[in-house]
């Protein structure tokens, strides 16, 4: 029985509004880039699911194939690939991250009118 990794990933991002594929766990990140993403998500106050790729080599490779993106962490909102650490930080700085999370209903609406 071989696993269908792409389908497992699809189900994870369909079933959870915000998913971070990362090294380590939200409470104990094991990579500086993953830690930065967790910090940003906590700072904007969204709930999210962290998937620890270090626990599963097939997911670690599978998520890279899934998004054509060679690095981890990877952030998904509402099933859509948002980016890695640099893009997450850039979207946080421009306020776009908050807008997208508000639209996804995982944080309160921001004050902009």
């Amino acid at each position: 029985m071989s696993r269908d990794i792409a389908q497992e990933i699809q189900e994870t991002i369909d079933g959870n509004p915000v998913v971070l594929f990362m090294k380590g766990t939200p409470n104990f990140p094991q990579c500086g880039f993953s830690a930065q993403c967790v910090e940003i998500l906590n700072h904007v106050g969204t709930q999210f699911v962290g998937v620890n790729v270090l626990e599963d080599p097939e997911v670690r490779q599978g998520i890279k194939d899934f998004s054509s993106w060679p690095t981890i962490p990877q952030l998904y909102i509402k099933g859509q690939f948002i980016g890695g650490c640099d893009i997450t930080r850039e979207l946080f700085q421009t306020g776009d991250l908050k807008s997208q999370l508000s639209a996804a209903g995982t944080i309160g609406a921001s004050e902009e009118g």
Partner: protein, 77 residues
């Protein structure tokens, strides 16, 4: 191990009009920082811009380059 110049050349080979600056963040040659400016980024999302750079680097991302802090800038001219 790739030199910083080799990494710059790889990115430039994939994005010919790009201005590329690569720095070594840790002194170990595998944690790099790249700033890439190109007209071909105009109209593309950040994900697409970064994918273009990753595409140019190809297998180097899976081996010699352990981490890459990437900044892409779309230049209008």
């Amino acid at each position: 191990m790739l030199t910083l110049q080799e990494v710059e050349k790889m990115i430039q080979a994939g994005i010919p009009d790009a201005t590329v600056v690569v720095n070594d963040m840790t002194g170990t040659g595998d944690h790099l920082e790249a700033r890439v400016m190109s007209k071909s980024f105009v109209g593309k999302t950040l994900v697409q811009q970064h994918q273009m750079v990753y595409g140019a680097l190809g297998d180097a991302m899976a081996g010699p380059i352990h981490a890459l802090k990437l900044t892409t800038i779309a230049t209008e001219d």
